[in-house]
Amino acid sequence: MPLTLPQGQTDNFYLYGTAPFLGALLGPGQTISAVSADPLTVILTPDPTAVPVRTGDASATVPAGTPTVLSGVVSSPASPAQLNTLIVCTATVLNADGSTAESLTDTVEISTTAATAIGDLFGSATTVTSSTAKAKK
């Protein structure tokens, strides 16, 4: 699913196996890498060791603790080359003999307009005590 990243922020990314079961790992000798089509706009920094999906990033379909084959941080330089443009990120799984086993893509957009916080729709609640309750009558 494409990521819209507000400028100046970072996010986690994960690559995980979906078949033959969720959380399947790489085969013997296989390696995986993820590259950004424009590193001057989107930077993918892999973790030294892939970490399982964190609780804060989990969903009903990808629960927390799901093993991953690659994880890291997605970010942008201080002055991204391309703003509000979809940048393709490609993950490639190579077999031990160097042949490509799998290649998949997703997009990241560094946005200058995406909201970074959501305001309250309603005002803050006032605690009603016996004295304020009386005053309201």
């Binding site: 699913m1 990521l3 922020q9 970072t10 996010d11 986690n12 990314f13 994960y14 690559l15 995980y16 196996g17 979906t18 078949a19 033959p20 079961f21 399947a24 790992l25 790489l26 085969g27 013997p28 296989q30 995986i32 999906v53 964190r54 804060g56 990033d57 990808v62 991953t68 084959v69 997605v74 990120c89 993950a91 799984v93 799998e102 998949l104 997703d106 990241v108």
Partner: protein, 62 residues
């Protein structure tokens, strides 16, 4: 109606049928889960590597 029948018996039959459908659905879900788990264990035991992958982005952090 042209013949005598017991409303309560009719209600009971309807409730029983609803229950049977509910149980069938629950059993089907359980079986699906068992099959999925067996497939997962089999893949682990045979060291089957991942054949399909997916990207996941986090939910934001600063």
């Amino acid at each position: 109606m042209g013949w005598p029948f017991d409303e309560r018996k009719l209600d009971k039959i309807q409730r029983d049928q609803d229950l049977i459908i509910e149980l069938e659905e629950a059993n089907s879900r359980k079986l699906d889960r068992i099959l999925w788990e067996q497939k997962r264990i089999l893949a682990i035991l045979t060291k089957s590597p991942a054949t399909e992958f997916s990207f996941l982005f986090g939910k934001g952090r600063q």
